[in-house]
Symmetry: C2
């Protein structure tokens, strides 16, 4: 996660937030305490404060804490302002329609892949339950592609703090294998997920690069070995390239033109 100390009280309190979120379920005070670096009263006060602040929610019946509702509000703003999603939206819609497969838009967040948007092939999907999800960088198409074009220093850092887990027989499980793969990706400009994260799931991924060559994010088209193969996915490379370039251009020119998108949702 983020550097816990160094950022004083605020940093410590936020680390508690992460801790609660990491549980993935409502959690009791004692459970937190057991794996907390903070002494009991300190942790207690953090939890109190965060609950006051609606960053945590408290269930009095079960005596449990969970990430709070204020985060949902804040994340809405974050998603609209700090991710590629709003600019990329029309392009992803078009791409999804064109290829008829699941499309992902991801960004790099520390050593992890953060999925910021998604279009499902057939039916509408509850996006929010997907966006915000994180995954490992070393065994996903989007992750590898983003790393391949990242600053070497960042790659070193990611590899260093990465514990390679073999999700499938195809997962790359060593720093050396990964570095080799990254070189290949850099050479050819795009990458694949060859059932490295889940059996039967393959994808082709394309980086979204700024004019200056900085990694903004990545796109991928996902399918299953039942429906197609890598050669089949490779056919999508041109349209992925176009889409990625267009997103990059729009991102460059994007300057939040004063809310000209008037709401008409009828909420």
């Amino acid at each position: 996660m983020v550097a816990a100390t160094r950022d004083g009280t605020v940093g410590k309190a936020l680390s508690v937030l992460d801790q609660v979120a990491a549980f993935g379920r409502p959690v009791r005070f004692t459970e937190l305490l057991a794996q907390s670096p903070f002494p009991k009263p300190t942790l207690y006060r953090f939890v109190q404060t965060l609950t006051n602040q609606q960053m945590l929610s408290y269930d009095p019946d079960r005596q449990t804490y969970a990430p709070g509702i204020r985060l949902v509000r804040l994340a809405h703003a974050a998603w609209e302002q700090s991710t590629l999603a709003p600019v990329a939206r029309p392009h992803i819609d078009a791409l999804s329609k064109a290829v008829g497969e699941t499309v992902h838009l991801a960004q790099l967040d520390h050593a992890q892949v953060l999925y910021v948007d998604k279009r499902n092939a057939g039916k509408p999907v509850q996006m929010y339950s997907q966006a915000g999800k994180v995954g490992p960088a070393y065994c996903t198409g989007v992750g590898k592609v983003m790393l391949a074009f990242s600053d070497p220093a960042i790659v070193d850092l990611v590899i260093e703090q990465q514990s390679f887990h073999a999700f499938t027989p195809h997962t790359l499980t060593s720093a050396a294998a990964l570095r080799e793969e990254l070189a290949d990706i850099r050479a050819q400009g795009y990458g694949f997920d060859r059932e490295e994260h889940e059996p039967g799931i393959i994808c082709v991924a394309m980086p979204i690069l700024s004019e200056a060559g900085r990694v903004l994010g990545a796109l991928s088209v996902t399918s299953t070995t039942g429906r197609t193969n890598l050669a089949g996915l490779e056919a999508y490379v041109p349209i992925l390239q176009d889409t990625a370039r267009n997103i990059a251009i729009d991102a460059q020119n994007w300057s939040f033109p004063d809310h000209d998108t008037k709401e008409t949702t009828g909420i």
Copy 2:
């Protein structure tokens, strides 16, 4: 917002987060300073800390701050654990299919309505851009319905800190009018939005109440005056009632049964 002081340094820092989010666009340091209660160096350090912590993101080119990507990660956890959305999902899907109109699921967050999930009538929709959105409580169907069944003390508080704005000619613009409406809703068990927030937009809303009578959230079916009228919407009351009751029951029994929902997304 939340009580800024009282929660020490952490509370103050979080208030800065809110402030940034409220801008709705990337914002410069000076802009923040102009409307901040904190002196320059204090605000500066908060912004620094929050940026370090990825709660804010900084654009060095434009020298602007925006809500950070860490919020998206955290919100994912919050949405899954602290909202009705995961339990309600199947019920809302069914409801949406049955009525063929836009369906909203909302919860009360302070004095505001927080939309936690949504199904669009015809075409798939980018949910995330809607969930997390907040609206006023006094002039939306879901807001009034939730207030109507809330603790009187809460209602007083909400009304007190509410500045009534007339969005349309039909908006209730006085505490008295609102209280009267709330009494009616309580008597009849559900409520309407009679073009009170946006012209042409109407909805019927139903509270989701726990066995003990506590307000868990609210559902609504939204339409336009072009397609139907209040009497037409009233026909949905029985199915809304059923759906709300079923959601309440599921929410009661919901106890996070240890990740039996294995992922098969193929990300």
